[in-house]
């Protein structure tokens, strides 16, 4: 079909002849440019949301209903039994606290140290800095599993085994974060720093009062990503923490999966509960989280 854009010159007056041609958008064009993409996106949203909705509804089904045939989308009998048992079985308050401490402290230190390292790599001239930068770049190419054992030995020998510090310390400096900041600071003109120095600003002042505010978008992006990484971290807390009072949420959740069978009712409910803090954080910081996801594909 041909797009129906027509010029309708008004007959008669000179002013009518001078008026620019008016574009009339047909219904088909509106449908093609607006309704169709929107409808397609809603279909995709529904498809993406369906498993999540199924997951949420399954958590309020009676255990006997979870696998009954035919499967039903809505619970035949609504039950909060799984939530009650999950709450009784796991000390959520303790695990939330531990995970929050680990994620918050690590994120705070990660952002600060990565910003400082990235700034130094971008703005200071020293041959050793280039070597140091190359070493950091090399780290991004190593799978985390390879570093797991050496990190465990270091943490143990530093006397931080079975402490939250033992989980926090090795996670602080992420090579990805350093490079995010380095790449950003490289784009900041050197003249800005020179001008600040002429005005009498000292190096720390330049960093804290000029560079950090400039790097706010990258700072928030790394903060969001780092928090998500640490919140979902499993392997390192598992090998470092032995006292259940210091367990993080992910370890606690995994204990619900037994050797031979899984109590899905409890596991589903516990998983929903464990998601709540991150959902709240998402609702508060969704603008930054969305922008941070543009950097998807970053490596922990």
């Amino acid at each position: 079909m041909v797009t129906d854009v027509t010029n309708r010159p008004r007959s008669g007056s000179a002013s009518a002849k001078a008026a620019p041609p008016r574009r009339v958008i047909s219904r088909w064009l509106t449908f093609r440019r607006s309704v169709l993409p929107t409808a397609t996106l809603w279909v995709l949203v529904t498809l993406m949301g369906f498993p999540l909705l199924w997951f949420l509804l399954s958590s309020v089904k009676h255990p006997g209903e979870l696998f009954s045939f035919p499967l039903t989308f809505f619970p035949r009998e609504w039950s909060l039994d799984g939530y009650q048992r999950a709450w009784e079985r796991l000390d959520f308050v303790q695990y939330f606290t531990n995970t929050l401490i680990v994620a918050s402290v690590t994120t705070f230190l990660t952002v600060f140290l990565c910003a400082a390292a990235g700034y130094a790599l971008a703005k200071y001239k020293n041959p050793w800095l280039a070597v140091f930068g190359l070493c950091i770049l090399t780290m991004t190419m190593l799978p985390g599993e390879i570093m797991l054992n050496p990190m465990f030995v270091v943490v143990r020998d530093l006397g931080m085994y079975n402490s939250l510090w033992g989980v926090i310390m090795p996670s602080i400096v992420t090579p990805t974060g350093v490079f995010m900041f380095r790449q950003f600071f490289v784009s900041v003109p050197d003249e800005l720093i020179d001008a600040a120095r002429i005005d009498g600003a000292r190096e720390l002042s330049i960093f804290f009062r000029i560079m950090i505010p400039l790097a706010k978008p990258i700072l928030l992006t790394l903060a969001v990503i780092s928090f998500q990484w640490r919140w979902n971290d499993y392997i390192f807390p598992l090998i470092i923490l032995s006292d259940p009072d210091r367990f993080t949420l992910q370890i606690a959740l995994r204990t619900l999966i037994g050797a031979e069978n899984i109590d899905w009712s409890i596991l589903l409910a516990a998983s929903v509960i464990s998601m709540i803090p991150l959902v709240v954080i998402y609702l508060v910081f969704q603008r930054y989280i969305t922008s941070s996801n543009l950097s998807a594909g970053l490596k922990d």
Binding site: G64, N98, I101, T255
Partner: protein
């Protein structure tokens, strides 16, 4: 605005650090406290916690039950050993060479508890018993009573009533034909279950003679029978070849029978509410047999500073009076005879399991003891050639002869004689 944000950030960090400091590692003080690491489901974990509470009431000694993810229990104990931070005790799925030299001698407790003789596993290096069975686990069969009743087909309910695999397949096929059931049987994808199946056909599975793996002709007969049950659609192919969840398949109510084990009873009591289920004797062709073993090994560690208290708890836990309570709560089979355990409505099921175990002793030694011995010697491997090659056979990747040849070859290469 910026100043306010900075203050808030600083305050949050300070609060977090204070919290962190409060949670940092520190030595326990005051009364004696023993930790026991395990990976139990709700039933077992709850039962052990109950025992810990009882023990504290009686003695004042606190027992901390530490639940660890089952798949990572081995890693966890290894790291604890390397960090010289082993717990006082653990229910471990296997014995690990990393900490075998730190295990306490439990011989006296083993003798006083009176375990089945084949469960007294000695360390081949020094002849001491350093691990005790947590509970017993055995292979068994469940039926969906509603489907069988709807089809009007009978099934045995006591050990006196026997049925062969041919009779079982005929009966279950009739159930499938007469109801909306989809499959006659579903079996856990596990070498443990498959060995029981082989035993029932008269095979001793695979064993070692002079360092070489051998098997009997009945193994081929059983595996061919197993293949036919999949090929005909009597069993779902997706469980063994694609990792589908057999328990969920049975719980859907569309399977006549489920070949699984005693550990399902506690779960079924809670989660199967849509139909009636029942534990039944397994078919025999012609051998009555199950495959059984210890669910996990109780071990206690040296160098913790609380060795004496640990042994006291172990002795208390494995006394008949207390172990009965543990079995009743965790719905598990005891590894010793002569206990009076009240399983409630499902007492008949445990009688069936105990009867099948009694009929199967001897077979157990071939499978389980050697595996545990390998654990002590540090030669145990995680591979299960019986299961791996059977899956390839079911997938038509290899023939039956090739499957058996591969099973024997890999077993010879990987197992200690």
């Amino acid at each position: 605005m910026r100043t306010r944000t900075t203050r808030l950030t600083t305050a949050a960090a300070a609060a977090a650090l204070l919290g962190l400091a409060a949670c940092s590692n520190g030595a326990d003080s005051g009364d004696v406290s023993l930790s026991i690491v395990q990976s139990g489901d709700g039933q077992q974990g709850g039962a052990l916690q109950h025992m810990a509470d009882l023990y504290e009431e009686e003695t004042g000694v606190q027992i901390d039950v530490v639940e660890v993810p089952n798949a990572d229990l081995r890693t966890r104990l290894r790291n604890s050993a390397q960090a010289e931070d082993l717990p006082a005790m653990a229910f471990s799925p296997n014995i690990d060479p990393v900490w075998t030299d730190q295990m306490l001698d439990l011989t006296e407790i083993s003798e006083s508890a009176g375990f089945y003789p084949e469960l007294n596993l000695e360390d081949p290096n020094d002849g001491l018993i350093k691990s005790l069975p947590s509970t017993l686990t055995a292979v068994g069969m469940f039926v969906n009573v509603d489907l069988w009743e709807e089809a009007g087909v009978e099934f045995p309910t006591t050990l006196e009533e026997e049925w062969s695999w041919d009779e079982f397949v005929d009966a279950a096929t009739e159930v499938v034909d007469s109801t909306d059931a989809e499959f006659g049987l579903v079996m856990d994808s596990s070498a443990h279950r498959l060995r029981a199946f082989l035993h029932q056909f008269g095979s001793k599975s695979v064993w070692l003679e002079d360092g070489e793996a051998v098997t009997s002709p009945e193994t081929a007969t059983a595996l061919e029978y197993f293949y036919d049950m999949h090929d005909s659609g009597f069993m779902p192919r997706s469980v063994w070849t694609a990792g589908d969840d057999p328990s969920a398949t049975f719980k859907s109510g569309r399977v006549a029978a489920y070949y699984s084990g005693s550990w399902q009873i506690a779960d079924f009591e809670e989660t199967v509410t849509e139909f009636e289920w029942m534990s039944v004797p397994m078919p025999q062709q012609p051998v009555r047999a199950t495959n059984y073993g210890q669910a996990s090994a109780f071990v206690a560690f040296d160098g913790t500073g609380v060795e004496e208290e640990t042994l006291d708890f172990a002795e208390w836990f494995y006394s008949a009076e207390n172990y009965e309570i543990y079995c009743e709560m965790s719905r598990c089979l005891p590894p010793m005879e002569g206990l009076d355990i009240d399983y409630g409505d499902n007492a008949y099921a445990f009688e069936i399991y105990n009867g099948e175990i009694a009929a199967s002793s001897g077979l157990f030694e071939l499978q389980h003891i050697k595996h545990m011995r390998s654990n002590y010697l540090g030669t145990a491997v995680d591979s299960e050639p019986l299961q791996d090659e059977t899956v390839r056979y079911l997938n038509d990747e290899i023939t039956l002869d090739e499957a058996i040849e591969n099973i024997l070859t890999v077993t010879t290469e990987t197992r200690e004689g």
